[in-house]
């Protein structure tokens, strides 16, 4: 599997650029707001209320954030489980993006806890509520973060020349890779299960019952691939490297198939539950439902032919739309379609938004720093450019 022509190398180059500076400032703003939030409480910073006890810090940072961080999971699934070695060069960068996505998603849970100093209760046997879906999500995500750092650690070991440790780790790595595929399958579907227990509090358009875990897991894998395309395209442009369309085009064929499966389940579920009528009412929920569906259907057209799949532009837009669709599905389920009672409404406050933006900025910043300093991206053959 190890194709040494594609052996990863550090990119090198200066860490201080206009982009990294901007990202750093955004991350710092988020840090200050979070400090304020930890001292003065949620009410001082967020627009949360009794009706909306969670906002974007959960709906975006955790639910969407961890789904967008499924690149590592999707690629590991493809390369190691379905044994598609040709995609191996995409694994490490995808894993890196996932690593930060998940680590920050886990941290976001703490930001959202009213009494954050009690966070250790989740893991303490006397306090843990083992029958709760949230418990499953919390434990599973925590272990997965740990597993991912182990999965990614060869990059660090390589950099610091710890050959011996790397060799020893290599012998047991298969175990962690297997865990790395199992765990997200569990918690990404559990994030859907969270909505199952909300029952009637979820708008009929997203009240898919026992199919929710299936829908969330399918879209999580789909999003993982989309993010890989997105991130590979962006790093090619950002770091002035050749486009990886040759690897991405066949990947998009897999995405295409998965997308068809998802859409069939989604539409049939709506039809059989008799919920489709709700999509044709004049309501915000219906509007955002159509936005969500458009984001899923449009890529179907964009990736329909082999010619289209070989176009970097179309592929990029398709990936972008898929990410937006997965984003909308989750935001719709957790916020837009979350009906908590007459009169309640929620829109994030500016500080709340700045924290989320700061987290994304931090994620990108850390990605840039690591690919420049550690062997992550495949080496570029001089001949291609």
């Amino acid at each position: 599997m190890a194709d040494y022509a594609h052996a990863p190398r550090p990119l090198g180059g200066s860490l201080v650029t206009p982009v990294t500076l901007l990202l750093g400032v955004l991350a710092a703003i988020a840090g200050v707001i979070l400090l304020y939030r930890f001292i003065y409480g949620l009410g001082a910073v967020t627009n949360l209320s009794d009706g909306y006890p969670w906002g974007i810090w959960i709906a975006y940072d955790v639910v969407v954030g961890s789904a967008l961080a499924c690149g590592g999971y999707s690629m590991a699934l493809l390369v190691y489980i379905f044994n598609k070695g040709e995609y191996h060069p995409l694994v490490r960068p995808a894993l890196l993006a996932s690593l930060f996505g998940y680590t920050l998603a886990g941290a976001s849970v703490i930001f959202d806890l009213g009494r954050w100093w009690n966070v250790w209760h989740i893991f303490w046997p006397g306090y843990a509520q083992v029958n709760s879906v949230m418990f499953e999500v919390a434990v599973c995500i925590s272990i997965y973060i740990l597993v991912m750092w182990i999965e990614f650690s060869p990059a660090f070991l390589e950099k610091f020349g710890m050959r011996n440790a790397q060799r020893k780790l290599g012998k047991v790595l298969f175990f962690f890779i297997a865990l790395g595929v199992l765990l997200p399958s569990m918690h990404q579907s559990s994030l859907g299960s969270l909505l199952v227990i909300f029952g009637q509090q979820i708008h009929p358009l997203w009240r898919s019952g026992w199919l929710l875990p299936v829908l969330y897991l399918t879209t999580a894998i789909l999003l993982g691939f989309a993010v890989v395309v997105f991130e590979a395209t962006l790093s090619s442009i950002g770091f002035r490297r050749p486009l990886e369309t040759k690897v991405l085009a066949p990947l998009s064929k897999i995405m295409y198939g998965l997308l068809v499966v998802y859409l069939v389940i989604r539409v049939l579920d709506l039809v059989f539950r008799g919920a489709l009528g709700a999509a044709f009412t004049a309501s915000w929920e219906a509007f955002w439902f159509w936005v969500e569906m458009a984001c899923f259907v449009a890529p179907l057209a964009l990736m329909s032919s082999a010619r289209a799949r070989n176009s970097a532009a179309k592929l990029f837009i398709a990936a972008l739309l898929l990410m937006l669709g997965g984003f909308m599905l989750r935001i719709n389920g957790f916020l837009v379609g979350y009906m908590t009672g007459e009169g309640w409404h929620y829109f994030p406050s500016l500080p709340e938004l700045m924290v989320t933006i700061g987290l994304i900025a931090f994620e990108i910043l850390a990605y840039i720093v690591i690919v420049k300093k550690f062997p992550v991206l495949p080496a570029v053959q001089p001949a291609t450019r």
């Binding site: 909306y52 962006l234 176009s311 532009a313 990029f316």
Partner: protein, 382 residues
């Protein structure tokens, strides 16, 4: 207590029938009394059968009832228990051999009856003390038949099977012991130098006394008491815990003056000086006068004065705020009307700007990619 459940229903029924015919009341009324007593005592199901049995079979214990510095309120309250034949029942259950208010005898004849009863039931009679005992100047402030209260109490207690102090005066000094206490009023326990069962209150709830007596009759011993000698079944909790106005306390709704809106709405009387939060008694659960829970001071709109609690009743000013035992009011109260979410225009604007910028950047990027695609296609075409 395990034996109780084994006493069969028919036995209880038969016992009840016997007692009922003896008293000239119907069986049902008698069983109701037994059940009510068992409930007051906090006994498990089946205890009412044991009580019925005991009342039927037990030889009526001799009771000597002493009155010292008091107002006879305890006796009055007991007699005014409104169960139709309760007064009869008391006299049937116990043999009241000496009671200054109730006995027909007078003068030396009365004292002779007391001495005779004490001699006949030596070590077996129950001594009930009502009223505080003055000790100043050798106890000259209270004498009965020329004998000081101190001497009479010591004499009667020497051969008693059990001593029950009824009312706050004999329990801890009560009203007569209020500063400056010129007569040196003391409790029965102080004089006897030992813990006695106390039924404090001014007056105490008659059922707390009756239940204690019936417990003795049924099980041959007095009920479990706390360190102050108060039966735990009645004085184990503070009034505040089961107060019907408790929800108002927790919600921060208080009457601030007599007759103000809060007072008329039935809000918590804590700020009017209610001593419920520091007074141990079951007033809030059993009420007075057999007419249900509406009949106790707090239900009538007056703050509890803490009459059952040493150091509170007759000591603290009635309208002084109580010291909270074991609980404190919250620092702030939740709003009655919660804001149902805020609207953030700055945030909406920022989000729109970011979405616009992202869409623009994506479009530009896609356009450039498209050009690259075209270039590649042309290369291939050549």
């Amino acid at each position: 207590m395990e034996d109780m459940s084994e006493i069969r229903i028919e036995e209880a029924t038969r016992a009840a029938a016997t007692v009922a015919s003896r008293l000239g009341i119907n069986r049902r009324e008698f069983l109701q009394f037994c059940a009510a007593t068992a409930t007051t005592l906090g006994l498990p199901a089946g205890a009412e059968a044991a009580i019925a049995e005991a009342v039927e079979k037990a030889k009526r214990p001799s009771v000597i009832w002493l009155h010292f510095q008091e107002c006879t309120g305890c006796t009055e309250s007991l007699l005014r228990a409104e169960h139709p034949t309760l007064d009869k029942l008391i006299l049937d259950v116990i043999s009241l051999d000496y009671h200054e208010t109730l006995m027909a005898a007078a003068g030396h004849q009365a004292e002779a009856a007391r001495k005779a009863a004490m001699a006949a039931n030596k070590g077996k009679y129950i001594l009930v003390v009502e009223g505080a005992i003055p000790v100043a100047q050798n106890g000259i402030y209270c004498k009965v038949g020329g004998q000081t209260a101190v001497d009479m109490l010591k004499e009667c207690a020497a051969d008693a099977a059990a001593v029950i102090a009824i009312g706050s005066c004999s329990s801890w000094g009560g009203m007569p012991s209020t500063d400056p206490n010129p007569t040196g009023s003391s409790s029965a326990a102080d004089i006897l130098g030992k813990t006695v069962v106390t039924i404090p209150g001014c007056p105490p709830n008659p059922y707390n006394f009756l239940a204690t007596a019936v417990h003795f009759l049924t099980f041959g011993k007095l009920p479990e008491v706390d360190e102050l000698g108060r039966p735990k079944f009645a004085y184990g909790r503070i009034i505040h815990e089961h107060c019907e106005r408790r929800a108002h306390f927790d919600a921060g709704r208080f009457a601030h003056e007599f007759g103000d809106e809060g007072h008329r709405m039935g809000y918590c009387l804590y700020k009017l000086g209610c001593k419920g939060p520091e007074t141990h008694a079951n007033c809030s659960t059993i009420g007075f006068g057999d007419i249900g829970e509406a009949s106790w001071p707090v239900a009538c709109g007056h703050p509890c004065i803490g009459c059952t609690e040493k150091g509170v009743g007759f000591i603290k000013p009635i309208h002084a705020t109580a010291q909270l035992k074991g609980m404190s009011p919250p620092a702030s109260y939740p709003g009655v009307v919660e804001q149902q979410g805020k609207t953030s225009f700055a945030s909406a604007a920022a989000l729109a700007a970011i979405a616009g910028a992202a869409a623009g950047a994506a479009a530009m990027l896609a356009k450039n990619l498209g050009k690259q695609d075209e270039a590649q296609a042309q290369q291939k075409g050549e």
